[in-house]
Amino acid sequence: MIFAPSPFLLKDVSVSQVMTQVCVALIPGIAAYAWLVGPAILVQLVIATFAALFAEAAMLKLRGKPLALFLSDGSAIVTAWLIALTFPPLAPWWMVFTGTIFAIVFAKHLYGGLGQNPFNPAMVAFAVCIVSFPALMSQWPAVGLELRLVDQIDIIFGLAPRVDALTSATPLDAMKTALRMGDGNFDIAQLLANQDIYGNFAGRGWEWVAAGYLIGGLWLWHRRVISWQVPVAFIGSLTLISGALWLYNPAAFANPIFHLFSGGTLLGAFFIATDPVSGCTTPRGKLIFGAGAGLLAYIIRVFGGFPDGVAFAVLLMNLSAPVIDLLTQPAIFGMKGKK
């Protein structure tokens, strides 16, 4: 005779399936990204994946955990891909590598590994690198720059000089800098007319990468890998605040569409703020988490010193998540309106 507890029927699901679906959902965005800046992003994805698996394996070994089981869960790969996608595509290899190692070792395993990290590991890596290497983290390739794979690899691995001309700011950063430098003489409409940087509704080309993330994100929601609350609240609050300020002064504040399709908004809303481990779990908590992250992201990117605010916004909300969860526990069956 054998022993096993009920239930005996189980749905065919696993952590690695969840993570695989997240990776698949990133593919449209990655494809647009590769089309925009060339294969450099794929090189960075490989570097980050390698670093993540290396760090994961080393930490699992140190912690005496089964290697095959945890390496195949795919969580480290998701972290790695998010790091590669948020770092500048021509960043030196060691920066992506160090960031990823830091994410896996410090932000994940030192807190207890899978499921235990209070902060989103990829965002920790981003925050650490932008604080430590602000200049390198702000150098993005000028759109339209045609570089061969070999040249890109040379730049990433430091075999070719990092010519300043090769790099520029992100459209978001460029706008902020221009507005500040211009001291009120520039007006957003004039800036957006610059077709070198800006495209149809946001940064030239980058808007399509963002659209790719949107498609992947919607698919994730369709598959119920993520719930609707976080993305809707994130996008909603960011739209609300950017819309309000835009209506107040369209010359000094960009329109909501620009903000939605710029920087890390859509990647953040669908792939980063939805991280279940470090986010909120209750339905109302998720709404608060998403709305808070969207609001903070806007404030930091528009009024703060960093090119974008998504990473810090998510980390700040990660900090608040346990309290939000505690305060938003839903009423249980039969107890609604009684407790």
């Binding site: 005779m1 054998i2 022993f3 096993a4 507890p5 009920s6 239930p7 005996f8 029927l9 189980l10 749905k11 699901v13 696993s14 952590v15 399936q17 969840v18 089964p66 089981l69 945890f70 869960d73 969580s75 590994g113 899978l114 499921g115 235990q116 719930s227 279940p276 481990v277 779990t281 209750t282 526990q329 839903p330 009423a331 249980i332 069956f333 039969g334 107890m335 609604k336």
Partner: protein, 579 residues
Amino acid sequence: MLNLFKFWGGIKPPSHKTESNQHPIGVAPLPSHLIVPLHQSIGGTPKPVVQAGDKVLKGQLIGEADGWISAAVHAPTSGTVREVAMHVRPHPSGLDSLCVVIDPDGRDEWIARTPLDLATTAPADVFAHLQRSGVVGLGGAGFPAHGKLTPAPNVPMDELIINGAECEPYITCDDLLMRERADEIIRGIALFRDLLQPKKVLIGIEDNKPEAVAAMTAAVAARGENFAVVAVPTRYPAGGAKQLIRVLTGKEVPGSMRSTAEMGVQVFNVATAYTAWRAVAHGEPVISRVVTLTGNVAEPRNYEVLIGTPMDELLKLARPHPDTNGILMGGPMMGFLVPNRQVPVVKTTNCLIAHSERLFPPKAPEMPCIRCGACATVCPHELQPFEMYWYARAKNFGKTQEYDIFDCIECGCCSYVCPSRIPLVQYFRFAKSEIWAREREKKAAEEAKARFEFKQFRDEREKAEKAEKLAKAAAAQAAKKAAEAAAAAAAPAGDAPATVAATDAPAPASAADADKAAKMATIQAAMERAKAQREAAQPKNIEALKPDQQRELAEIEARRQAAGIADAPASATQETKAE
């Protein structure tokens, strides 16, 4: 058309019902022997009224109900009692219980059956008849039916719900019963209706059983009853009593509330209504039931099976495949693997599933929880299973109770969807049993303390009483002496007034002294008593209490005061808290 409601969550596992519902109910042959456990329903264990060697007839009482919540047990066929002994019971615990083992004589000879004339019988006598006939809930829990047939005081009975949902995969016994014996089910329901006097009668059947819905609808129409036969959406666990109540009435009975009658609604399984009717109209006690045989077998089918039939013998009818490695009693969501294959079919055995690794592959290794919340989205009681898991794992049982672990009905939806393959239900069972064990311990400790305190109090009181008695005796003695002295002094009266004065004076003085001594002793004793009480009430080792321990203490004090055990300990605890 009735307006249906939704319950939160639920799952849609593969139903596996078509395997076993293709054939009519068969009749299982008489087994080689019958092992009839006496304890087959919730409540008191029936007392055996037969002994080894007794000849019994089919339907003869072998176990007498013990108390109100208890139901009688009968011989399923005629034969000889081999023994009344301990045997393993079909229960996950694998524990033994008292069983009557019967060797059938093959004649299957009935005892005299006496139907009940409902027109002339008072409800109380109907309840007694149902109890005597062993009618219990056949849906799973086995609660004696008569215990649920009285409305709660002060709550009008709004709805009587008949549960034909049968939401668990694989099980089809209620489906077939409804298809084949709808008329008798309806008459049983009418009996319940007459006893409970509800405003409405609703029969809920999952919409994956169209044949059963049709049969029941036709039977209701044929009897001219105004019962509503409702096809409810197929979604596990729609057949959970509280889920079915929600779907049909919109009422939410909390998982922690035992009796649904408090909300004006009562639920019975279709098979319970059927057996109640058989008991009343034919005088037949519950000695058999319909059991689904399915799973890893060649010929899945439903059989009418005598209670007490050994499972391995029964399962052979369905020809289990050779790789069968266990027998699952109940459905795959809430059922359990029986401790050994010889355990008997009991009144709550609705289904036997031959278990094999092909059918139910071994579970993948458990991974850490990633807080994805899938469990919370399927929990029909809207709990946060991942939070309860977290605290159950940490053995922080107080916290699991804050997250309402006792509202969990162990339906298994959370485990079903968990991507980390965490046996969540198992953790919750563990936490619940630990909490129960601790409650029992705490209660025992409190009782012991109360006993000890009372003994101390009694000792002190006896001591004080003794002292008082002694003092009184001494005082009486002194008074007597004084009186004697006074008498002695009175005799030579006038001789020496000075002496009289001298003897007179101390006499009242000594009497007063004795009186005073007695009083002093009483006061002393009272003070000692008070001191002892204070000491008894003063909690020890409470300097470095953690907040939750303090809370626990406060709760205990509150309970003790409510029970009138403690006199004035509140100030003592507050003082120590202030430090």
